[in-house]
Symmetry: C2
């Protein structure tokens, strides 16, 4: 059984996990960031003092069983290919004093953290309830915050800054680290050591990917792993994180951090519909420019990863910045070939 490890957090990693869980003969592990500080997760973090659960919840939803089906029930607000159990974990309360904005999955994980006194054990229990196809490990067992340094010397603390278009949007980030320093969780380390394939991305470079790679011991263990290292390039830049950055820029930051070359890069070459481009442009966000041809000694897979059903949606949906996603079916096919 091929051991595949996905490193990241957020919707990009969720999508990769969803694509992979459909493949047979794979032992799948997700290693996710625990540095969130915004939204529902941030509120819970502030109020309870546990590790933030946002990225864990998304991975949990992605890997939850799809076998628990209910044909008789008509679910409102279904999101694409999600099963209803995934919808439940991602459910967000739209009213209720103090409840509004909270994800149910976050609340379940918070209750389990409180009951067990440990994020790792909370995830282990949630894995049993929701019959996970795979394993989920936090990158570290310590609650950490991100420290972000910009090219002008400004330092900010908190992952939520990376989503805030009113602060430092367009500014160049020169590095992130965690406060306090933290070591990689032993189970995450073991999963990377034993992996046959490691997949990084897509996802927010500084909000989801790098928060894993700056944890103590993570670069070394990835560097010494015999696994094939795959990087899935983002489709678009983010104004608050990767403004003006090319494909080579993205790759360079990761390779520098882990002091190792990536074996395979998956890069979209599909055309993004003009209406979508226009909506993103209004938010100062653009397709990641493919300048990878200059890189030697690396397998670059260029493929159309754009979801074809996209243009059928209305523009109001498209304006939402996370609307444009890699096509899970196309991604599944390409990952199946690589693995």
């Amino acid at each position: 059984m091929k051991k595949v490890v996905v490193i990241g957090g957020g919707t990009g990693t969720s999508m990769v996990l969803s694509s992979l869980k459909a493949l047979k003969e794979i032992d799948l592990s997700a290693i996710v960031s625990v540095a969130d500080s915004g939204g529902s997760t941030g509120r819970l973090r502030d109020e309870f003092g546990f590790q933030p659960v946002g990225d864990l919840r998304q991975a949990l939803a992605a890997l939850a069983s799809q076998e628990i089906k209910n044909q008789k029930s008509k679910i409102k607000n279904r999101q694409g290919e999600n099963s209803w159990i995934q919808d439940l974990l991602l459910y967000r309360f739209s009213k209720g004093n103090g409840l509004e904005g909270h994800n149910l999955g976050n609340l379940i994980l918070t209750a389990l953290q409180d009951m067990t006194g440990s994020t790792a054990k909370a995830i282990e229990m949630a894995s049993k309830i929701f019959r996970l196809h795979g394993h989920i490990y936090p990158i570290t067992t310590k609650p950490v915050n991100l420290v972000i340094e910009y090219s002008d010397g400004t330092v900010e603390i908190g992952e939520h800054i990376l989503d805030d278009t009113n602060k430092h949007a367009g500014d160049r980030i020169i590095g992130i680290k965690t406060s306090p320093r933290a070591e990689i969780y032993s189970q995450a380390k073991l999963a990377i050591t034993n992996a046959g394939v490691i997949i990084i991305g897509p996802g927010d470079l500084y909000g989801s990917i790098m928060p894993n790679l700056v944890i103590g011991g993570a670069p070394e263990i990835i560097r010494s792993s015999k696994a094939k290292l795959v990087f899935i390039m983002n489709l678009m830049t983010r104004y608050t994180q990767t403004h003006n950055m090319s494909a080579n820029d993205h790759l360079g930051i990761i390779e520098k951090q882990i002091s190792r070359k990536v074996d395979t890069v998956i890069m979209n070459n599909g055309k993004i519909p003009p209406k979508i481009l226009k909506a993103y442009k209004e938010q100062h966000e653009y397709p990641v420019i493919d300048n990878l041809k200059k890189v030697i000694g690396k397998r670059i897979i260029r493929v159309n990863l754009i979801r074809s059903t996209l243009v059928k949606q209305n523009l109001a949906d498209a304006v939402h910045r996370s609307y444009l996603r890699h096509d899970p079916e196309k991604l599944k096919q390409i990952l199946n070939k690589i693995i």
Copy 2:
């Protein structure tokens, strides 16, 4: 497979369900009240407008699988014989703005109600997630409030009044009904029709049991059922509901409501430790006096149902009014004989 239906709500019904689910060859259904208006349930009801879920959540926890175990994890605050999945469903947030006081199980059911638009479907889905040993049906699919009438003619609305020691404590209730009128849920009706045994109680007479029996169609269907009808008598009176009421008084109210005699009454004859009695007395609550001997043509089973581990606990625990419970193991043995 013997079909057993338990009618009620609250901790009494939960305990009966926990006892019964360990018995083999039983097809178990719980029919529970949906008239709560206090606490976490009441807040959710006010804010979301769905049927109250408190009694459903307790039945869900009682019937959830105990097979999902986690020996490695040490759970804090374990409650007696509950499994950790039951602890999770009963988990109550002890902090968090707006979250404090909410039960996680209530939040899960509320999310499912919102997703499906139906309490019955929400319970059906929760049943699949938590691998239920049995079925749970709300007595009605309509959101209702209790209307309570006292002997001096006072009328109050809301189930929470029945828990309020500052209002009408010690006053005699002469009747309850729902506002608006509601009909019995078809699946609950079917379960009663097909039952071999129906068990009512223990539990709050006016807060848990009668809210089922005053639903339109419920008395008729229980009356016409060929099932053996069992009533488990409460251990103690409640100052806000059954002050000064004897065993015969409890039984009379139920039999009058359904216009049918109960076949078997289970009555405690075990001695309640003096320290416990004293703590209850301070709250004007006393053992239900057994005056059933005067009743003819009914099988009365008198048995020691007091939990023997009780006296080992400290008095601080004992003061909590719901502390004194029927012993699940003793109850299981007696129910096994009857069924």
